[in-house]
């Protein structure tokens, strides 16, 4: 079922890709192949493979249970938040929080997760800043005045 669904999504995607290739602008300097043909070839092959997967799917993979999906969603949200806070909030705080939450999602032990967060944040900062010489800000720039 998962394979069928995936195959169907890819099939639709490859048709859309094929059609989108029509919108590729061509310049007056055109070679015999042009910029549209190769993307179309790719989408044709992809569509064919997707069709074969729909027709002959593999065994169903073991999907996680509802609780695990929830933890995966939290992890995803944390990563996105980390991506957006790394610059404005400096390295130390977002890294400690993100690493701590991820650690807790992997193994639900509060104290260990907090220590992992703090340890990774501090340790990596020292490595990045002083051993590798990356320009990182430890804390929000506003704090530095």
């Amino acid at each position: 079922m998962s394979d069928r669904l995936f195959g169907l999504i890819v099939l639709i995607g490859s048709v859309a890709y094929f059609l989108a290739a029509a919108n590729i602008p061509t310049s007056f300097l055109v070679d015999p192949v042009g910029p549209k043909l190769f993307p179309r070839m790719i989408s044709a092959v992809a569509g064919l493979c997707a069709l074969l997967i729909v027709i002959k799917p593999d065994e169903e993979p073991e999907w996680p249970v509802a609780g695990t999906w929830f933890r995966l969603a939290i992890a995803l949200a944390v990563l996105v938040a980390y991506a957006y806070t790394l610059k404005p909030l400096g390295f130390l705080i977002p890294t400690a929080v993100a690493a701590g939450v991820l650690s807790y999602q992997i193994q639900a032990r509060v104290v260990a997760a907090v220590l992992t967060g703090i340890g990774l944040s501090g340790g990596l900062f020292i490595i990045f800043k002083f051993a590798l010489g990356l320009s990182l800000f430890a804390v929000p720039r506003a704090w530095l005045g």
Partner: protein, 501 residues
């Protein structure tokens, strides 16, 4: 100039204090990366690339650091195979078959030393093979025109899909996804955007480092969250390290045979180290007279896959350096490194940048000796590394990936894209769709299209041109057989299953 004077030149490059230090650091990091389950050679090298850039290494130095990591990971993979029955990286899977039973029988140290020596023999001889073969192949590569390159790229995808995966349609689909992603961005010949949706960030295309780090490293975090980070306790006792001279002597033939097989498997574009260790193990099993102990702790079953996979690791560098076609997932990542450094692999690399090529080869020879020391007398240190729990390791890997990509581009867009690739990687792995063809597709997509278009310009649009030289016909035939043959062979060759406790 002959090989020796070139190599002497290479040693002049490799023996400077900085390069030497980088090679040693690379070996140490590589062995750790290889030993830790959940951190294979490809994602280990991938997350280090952005850092190597921020560190401001020049081309030769960066390449030496990364290939040392690559060689080191091939050595290190065996440690967790033998002690935990979990392959540290994919090629080390075959080592679990006899390595773990041997360790359970109280011979963990013998298995570690023997496999370390086998790795050394395989890697060292393969490095010599690389030095002899690469310049020859580089000369042959001068004969390649765009039609030949197009067929060669196709061959890489089809062998990768045919031999290295269990499901052709999924591997081919993965390659198409990668190629499709590569099309995003400015078209090389018209200079106009394709599939960008008028997004300025997409005009430059999708950076392959972002895709690699996302697919390999970030997806691993999701996988581990799902598996609750089952920590692996070392199940077997490691007594004092002694050298089992008897076993080593008995396995000399095994190592040499496996090295040859592994090296050849490594050269095949798209096949790589996993195939090398698999073929070496299977060949050794059918070659020896008394194979009743195979799978139950036969020392030859430990030596064969280790010599095989390390030889294949060296072999895989041959097509990567001479043709720009990687032979495995990790060499694909190394190719990404070269392309980011603005070095185009191929025959010209050998004539225009001999310092890079021969410096690399000399560094590999040095790295091998360092690795032998690290992996035999000092193996205990790396055994300790295995006790780092996933709840510390995985967040760490994730943070390093973020900082690496962030320091490279400084844009939120790339970080979000990396997370999306991580999510995609998670679903693809659940659906058993290989991710290496995607990487290869993103890396080679534009080259593949360019060679097709250039071939058509040369022929004035005549498609028969693609099949006109002997070389290209050979590649087409090999591509088709490489893709189709495994379907029939699979009936006769089944992969041995790992032990269950």
């Amino acid at each position: 100039m002959d090989t020796f004077s070139l190599l002497a030149q290479g040693f002049a490059v490799a023996l400077t204090p900085t390069t030497l230090a980088l090679a040693v650091a690379g070996c140490i990091i590589g062995t750790m990366v290889g030993a830790l389950p959940g951190l294979g050679p490809s994602n280990g090298v991938a997350i280090l690339i952005p850092l190597a850039f921020s560190f401001g290494l020049d081309a030769t130095e960066a390449l030496i650091l990364m290939t040392s990591v690559y060689y080191g990971a091939m050595y290190g993979g065996r440690i967790s195979s033998i002690l935990l029955n979990i392959p540290g990286d994919e090629p080390a899977l075959m080592t679990t078959l006899d390595g773990y039973p041997m360790a359970k029988a109280g011979r963990a140290s013998d298995a570690l030393v023997l496999s370390g020596v086998a790795s050394f023999v395989g890697a060292l001889l393969a490095t010599f093979g690389l030095m002899l073969l690469a310049p020859i192949l580089a000369n042959v590569a001068y004969l390649f025109g765009p039609a030949e390159y197009f067929a060669l790229y196709l061959l890489a995808f089809s062998t990768l899909g045919g031999i290295a995966s269990n499901n052709q349609r999924k591997a081919a689909l993965a390659a198409c996804i990668g190629l499709g992603i590569a099309m995003i961005g400015l078209d090389n010949s018209t200079g106009l955007g394709r599939f960008t949706g008028n997004n300025l960030h997409l005009m430059d295309g999708v950076d392959f480092l972002v895709a690699i780090v996302g697919l390999f490293a970030v997806s691993e975090v999701f996988i581990f969250i799902e598996s609750h980070g089952k920590s692996s306790a070392i199940g077997v006792k490691l007594e004092s390290i002694t050298i089992p001279f008897k076993d080593i002597a008995r396995c000399t033939g095994t190592m040499l045979r496996s090295t040859v097989i592994g090296f050849i498997a490594g050269i095949l574009p798209g096949a790589g180290a996993s195939l090398g260790s698999f073929l070496a193990y299977m060949a050794e099993k059918s070659y020896v007279k008394d194979n009743s102990m195979f799978g139950k702790g036969d020392p030859r079953g430990v030596a064969a896959p280790e010599a095989g996979n390390n030889a294949a690791a060296g072999g895989a560098l041959v097509p990567m350096l001479t043709l720009g076609v990687p032979g495995s997932g990790t060499t694909a990542v190394l190719l990404a490194l070269l392309m980011t450094l603005n070095i185009t692999p191929g025959p010209l690399l050998f004539t225009e940048r001999p310092d890079v090529v021969w410096g690399l080869m000399a560094a590999l020879l040095i790295a091998n000796i360092v690795l032998l020391i690290l992996n035999v007398p000092m193996v205990r240190i790396f055994v300790k590394v295995l006790s780092v729990p996933p709840r510390i390791l995985l967040p760490g890997v994730c943070m390093v990936s973020f900082v690496g990509i962030y320091s490279l581009s400084g844009s939120y867009f790339d970080l979000i894209l990396m997370i999306l690739f991580g999510l995609l990687g998670y679903f693809l792995r659940k659906l058993n769709i290989p991710t290496v063809p995607i990487i290869l597709g993103i890396l080679l997509g534009n080259h593949m299209e360019d060679s097709l278009r250039r071939a058509m310009v040369l022929s004035g649009g005549d498609w028969k041109y693609l099949f006109q030289s002997g070389i290209s016909i050979g590649f087409w035939i090999a591509a088709v057989t490489g893709f189709v043959a495994p379907v029939f062979l699979r009936r006769f060759i089944t992969k041995p299953q790992a032990h269950k406790d």
